[in-house]
Symmetry: C2
Subunit: 405 residues, 2 copies
């Protein structure tokens, strides 16, 4: 069994929305296809992955560094012991040959796209959904009976959005959240930091009003605030019972995070812009984060993939944190399977935006603020109609007699 080809395609994100810092319409994603020599159900097994959303495609690093190193590696070195699956850890080690320590940024997301495609291939080899494959790899199968978070094939999902609109922002914000409720969502995350504190608190109060009792509204500053502003917002938010206060300052400003948490009692969430175990370990060591309270949002699709993420979970658990504190950034099919497979707290969704990658396939059932994976093998990316043209572009061997899935 071997990898016969690895391809990558840069796909632009659709939608002209902005958070407090960036405009996403310029952002791109790398879709990666790991083509194997195996066949299932009459089609070659092709692992598909992508580097989450919200940053950029990595075609340079993939083409110039990672893919050549992998294709030069003797195929047997990339297999597990019984040669029935690819070994994601060995794949990462081969892709990272001659890379230096430190500098976890673009490289981390390039590796992630490749590594996640290997997880997709492994699940397709066994003809099972990726979450089942991940659960077995994480040795969590035995825990399924005893651990409620692991017992079903659905997980909590909240709707992220709460954008700024020109004009009557407050009334359009209410409409936006009500539309999410119609879709089946019960909890929300809205932007802060793009308006004055007073205006932002009106927005938060409006959102809390619509969501109803029970900490159903989180707020996201997207790393925008300095310490004084983060504190001002923290004091104001304290009154409003938000679910969590996300990325108040620069993601690497652990001292700011620690100082804020000394004052702000409710949960703080961060980690979506930390791209390695060592960066996250520094957050735990120096950032004042609290086991059982704060939320860790590291996104495996931007930070070296699932093997690194499982290592991170070990770090978290040995520091007293639990999986129930982990909401990975990035609302899409891959993270649905990761959350299900590893028994994490839940998923986010950005209804309607970040296409073609954002959101779930029509086969994924959304009900009572929970999202269920379908039975498709792997991450089920071919079930997502918006993605299919790009999948056929990067892996034309998946077209069955011209009759598209």
């Amino acid at each position: 069994m071997r990898i016969v080809d690895i391809r990558e395609l840069t796909v632009p994100l659709k939608g002209n929305i902005a958070n407090a810092v960036v405009n996403f319409s310029a952002h791109t994603v790398s879709l990666v296809a790991v083509v194997t020599d195996q066949v299932r159900d009459g089609l070659p097994v092709v692992g598909l992955g992508f580097n989450s959303i919200g940053r950029f495609a990595q075609s340079g690093i993939l083409r110039e560094r990672l893919i050549p190193r992998l294709l030069e590696t003797p195929p047997e070195q990339l297999l597990d012991e019984v040669a029935e699956a690819f070994n994601p850890q060995a794949v990462v080690a081969a892709a990272m040959r001659n890379e230096k320590p430190g500098g976890h940024g673009d490289r981390a997301s390039a590796v992630a796209a490749l590594e996640l495609a290997v997880w997709d291939a492994n699940a397709k080899l066994r003809e099972e959904p990726a979450w089942q494959n991940i659960r077995r790899a994480a040795s969590l199968t035995a825990a399924v009976e005893s651990e409620p978070a692991l017992s079903g094939s659905d997980v909590e999902v909240y709707a992220a959005g709460g954008y700024y609109y020109p004009g009557d922002s407050l009334s359009r914000l209410r409409d936006e959240l009500k539309a999410y409720q119609q879709l089946g969502y019960a909890s929300f995350k809205i932007k802060i930091g793009g308006a004055s504190l007073t205006e932002d608190m009106q927005r938060v109060a409006a959102a809390v009003d619509i969501a109803g009792a029970g900490h159903r509204v989180a707020v996201d500053a997207n790393g925008r605030f300095d310490l004084a502003t983060a504190m001002d917002y923290g004091r104001a938010l304290q009154e409003l019972n938000v679910r969590w206060y996300e990325e108040p300052g620069d993601p690497l400003d652990f001292e700011l995070n620690r100082a804020l948490i000394e004052v702000y009692q409710a949960p703080v969430a961060t980690g979506e812009n930390l791209f390695s175990c060592i960066d996250t370990l520094n957050l735990l060591r120096f950032g004042g984060m609290r086991p059982g309270i704060d939320v860790i949002q590291v996104d495996p699709g931007l930070s070296y993939g699932l093997v690194e993420y499982m290592r991170l979970l070990q770090q978290l658990e040995s520091a007293g944190y639990s999986r129930a504190q982990c909401f990975p950034h990035g609302g899409h099919l891959i993270n649905l399977h990761v959350v299900l497979g590893l028994g994490l707290a839940g998923c986010e969704a950005y209804p309607g935006v970040f296409q073609p990658f954002g959101g779930y396939s029509p086969q994924c059932r959304l009900a009572d603020a929970r999202i269920a994976a379908s039975a498709a093998p792997g991450f089920g990316l071919v079930e997502k109609p918006e993605l299919l043209p790009y999948i056929y572009a990067v892996a034309p061997e998946l077209e069955r007699n011209g009759a598209r899935l």
Copy 2:
């Protein structure tokens, strides 16, 4: 005045040498040309820069993200107030449009190559060496009279090397260091961590013996050690009076650095694999580094360029550190001008290796363990014969009537 074109070229590093972690023969560098509409001495002013050495070229990030953003920016936004020079800070801001916080890795070195080319262009516009231009920009000109480190056009340089050789490693190590002495070097840096502790200490003792009295030998573990090994080496090195103990552990493992420094009294050096101010600030906050003792090796050519480096110097000085603790990683012409311009402690050189970028031009005088810049405008890269073919490839307009410089 405006930028009319920006080009980049991936150049492989020559030489099959290895440190404790990576083999450099697979490494590449991005040579960037910022072509302006200005003419000096009958030739267009073309700023040339590169992203230091020891990691990889960044053609993907340059071509797909940074260069298009710069070329889309209204030219007047990239000029200083009097429109006599380009504004490197404005160039970085434009190149970083829509980039998110965090993830300082490959992107930081792509930005650096571009930003340094702008500094080269600015010095060429004034027809002066880059170090003079940098000194003026840093408002250090007035300090020249009073500050000995700023008074000349030469700086301390040490020879880095001390590689592992197959076979009689110790005798070849002695020969290598003696050859550096013949060239005019008096201090050295050698590798550790690629052999047993006992063998490494024999190597260090041999190097100290050749170098003579006065802390003339530094050692470099290239981020390889875990805490226990770093401590074992620290205790053994303590006896040997080395100049500094470089990158004992993972560059982001600030806790390891702090724990080591509690035990190891002599100077520790690190920072070459930190690529932003915030990462270095975390080193200062949490890594146990000591003003007046330890060495900071952040390399502007890998970490967003000179504007970010000047910001870092401010951080360092307000935390009680001095410029005399700064030896930027990367022995090449750009860092010679940076060290001279900013009054830093000194340079490293890797005699004969990392070509075509490593080392200085024949016009740079090496004597008594000090290296002097030439009078060439900018960084003087065209004076380096090994680089010239690549410069002509990326900026053919610099060829004068076919008669090469």
